[in-house]
Amino acid sequence: MSKAILVDTTRCIGCGACVSACQEANGLPENDDTQLTAQTLNVVETHGEVFVRRFCMHCLDPTCASVCPVGAFRKTASGPVVYDADRCMGCRYCMMACPFSIPRYEWNAVLPKVSKCTMCAPRQAKGQQPACTEACPVEASVFGERDELIAEARRRIRENPSGYMGHIYGEDEAGGTSVLYLSAVPFESLGLPVDVPHDPLPMYTYRVLSKIPSLVSLGSVLLGGIWWITNRRNEVARAEGTGGEESGGDDQ
């Protein structure tokens, strides 16, 4: 079983309590950033009348963890996707690849790190819930088991079908995420990317990577074979005294 966060944008009043709690829990300076930055792991965006929290989606099969060449990202069994700065060499492929464009970089640091929400993994390890869900005064963000939160989201949609879009954003996006959104307006208008494929993105590259071993073994046999044949032809040609430099291979 893994933990998740359900964000019901119809309940959010835009008070910013989750932002302050996040800054405090992560030891980040107070600021007025309106977008995610290396110093801001959680923001409340305003889209028309609606307030939307944005932070890491904590994918079930995270793209960042699959693309990182040194395995700096890891999906923990309990839900959070965590980052190990000591492994990171700063290639920023995670930033390129994340379908939700979440990871941020310390562009002005000489020794920069990637930064993103950790779902308060350290707090969770101590049996506490994330700072943001604890701070929310109206339960717009709630923390719990993913299965139970999906059931709860379905219940809200069922009981008020005209008040919600009939879709839980994050249930299937990118193969499913540990952060789920409910909305009364199309998710596109909340700035959430809606073109994200519904199958896990790591499959897109794994399909190719998994062919490497057979490509290498077949390739070496093939190349070695061609070398042997053309070489043999030259040898035979020379033995027959015809000097067959060009006799081997296909000359276009």
Partner: protein, 388 residues
């Protein structure tokens, strides 16, 4: 050799000094103030010129190395031997440029060795890292006989020569993996890369276009070195390479066409966007026009005609890599990325250093081997080397 012609190059030396000075300043800025100060990169646009040009284009332009090595050693078309050494050197310099560019681009370059011990085989970048390391080693070994000859080190020379065919096969395999893996890097961004370029076939496209541009680079370099060093040009050889290039290019063009149609991306071509224009330029300049030129025997066998076709193929290739890595990603990112002058200065400096090293190698090493009149003797020697 005709060193009397060198003064012609002094203008370029002056240009090089200016570029290197700018590059030196940019390097200081990069390593004392961070990537933010030296580049136009941002959270919305984390990869720019250094990845798009230095890495993607640098690796592609080095593709002549494995293509020609395969032609000479695996297919035993020995008559191409005279142009092999400069091609291998270009490939080595290209890859060295890529490695140095990575040191600039990585946030923490002193950890560039991490993939050696911290493995993630699910990552394309992990594959790329290993390919760069291994192929750079292979290229260094492939080129090392030239250096050993120069210093008369017979024992290492003998050892490396005995490994030639193994090295060449390893080089071809590593190049195949590496060229295609640079395309695979972008398989993970189906919702971010513009549909005119995003395709499940990206790794295949990157590989096939690398072969075409590898051949174009051999033609391009042979012309330049012939001009700069007053050497006789191996026109019949190059015309044959031009023919091979036409075949690869036709194959590549048909695949791209079929791909755009079958994915239903053709409708984007009807929209008047900058992406449409860039895609059109890429296909016209890089595929259609050079293909038409190469199909005409008179153009193909003419030095200027063949050179022009090669330049077009290289241009189209550069456009393609920049489209995939930069312009094709801008639409989704919602920002316009344009490199800062300091980024450009670093890139130009690296290219300039590569040119300077090539010139030094021409001067101090036996890069071109005996002139064409000695080709027969050369051929005999080459055959006996491979077979015995």
């Amino acid at each position: 050799m005709t060193w009397t012609r060198l003064p012609k190059l002094t203008f370029w030396r002056a240009v090089l000094v200016v570029i290197l000075a700018a590059g030196f300043y940019s390097t200081l800025l990069r390593f004392t103030k961070g990537l933010g100060a030296a580049t136009a990169l941002s959270d919305r646009f984390p990869w720019g010129l250094w990845i798009g040009f230095d890495v993607l284009c640098g690796v592609g332009l080095a593709a002549g190395g494995f293509t020609l090595a395969a032609v000479v050693y695996i297919f035993h078309l020995e008559r191409f031997h005279p142009i092999l050494r400069p091609t291998i050197l270009t490939a080595f310099l290209g890859y060295a440029l890529v490695a140095v560019a990575l040191l600039f681009d990585l946030g923490r370059p002193y950890r560039i060795w991490h993939p050696l011990i911290m493995w993630n085989p699910r990552s394309v970048m992990f594959e790329v890292a290993w390919c760069v390391m291994l192929y750079l080693t292979v290229l260094a070994l492939e080129f090392s006989p030239v250096v050993f000859e120069r210093f008369g080190w017979r024992k290492p020379l003998k050892i490396v020569r005995s490994m030639t065919i193994v090295l060449v096969i390893a080089g071809v395999l590593l190049s195949t993996l590496h060229q295609s893996s640079l395309g695979s890097l972008y398989l993970i961004v189906p919702s971010k890369l513009h549909p005119l370029w995003y395709s499940p076939l990206l790794p295949v496209f990157f590989f096939v276009s690398a072969i075409a541009v590898g051949l174009a680079m051999v033609i391009f370099e042979s012309n330049l070195s012939a001009r700069a060093y007053g050497r006789e040009i191996e026109m019949p050889l190059l015309a044959d390479l031009g023919k091979a290039m036409a075949v690869v290019l036709a194959f590549y063009g048909l695949m791209r066409l079929e791909d755009v149609i079958s994915r239903g991306a053709g409708r984007y071509l009807l929209k008047p966007t900058s992406e449409t224009v860039l895609f059109g330029l890429e296909v016209l300049l890089g595929i259609a026009v050079p293909l038409a030129m190469l199909f005409v025997r008179r153009v193909r066998e003419n030095r200027e005609g063949l050179f022009a076709a090669a330049v077009l193929v290289i241009t189209g290739f550069l456009l393609n890599r920049l489209n995939v890595s930069i312009t094709g990603m801008e639409g989704f990112s919602g920002t316009l990325y344009f490199p800062k002058w300091t980024e450009v200065a670093v890139t130009l400096s690296l290219v300039g250093v590569a040119f300077a090293l090539f010139a030094l190698a021409v001067r101090y090493l036996d890069l071109f081997g005996p002139q064409p009149s000695d080709a027969v003797a050369r051929r005999e020697e080459a055959i006996s080397r491979v077979t015995g």
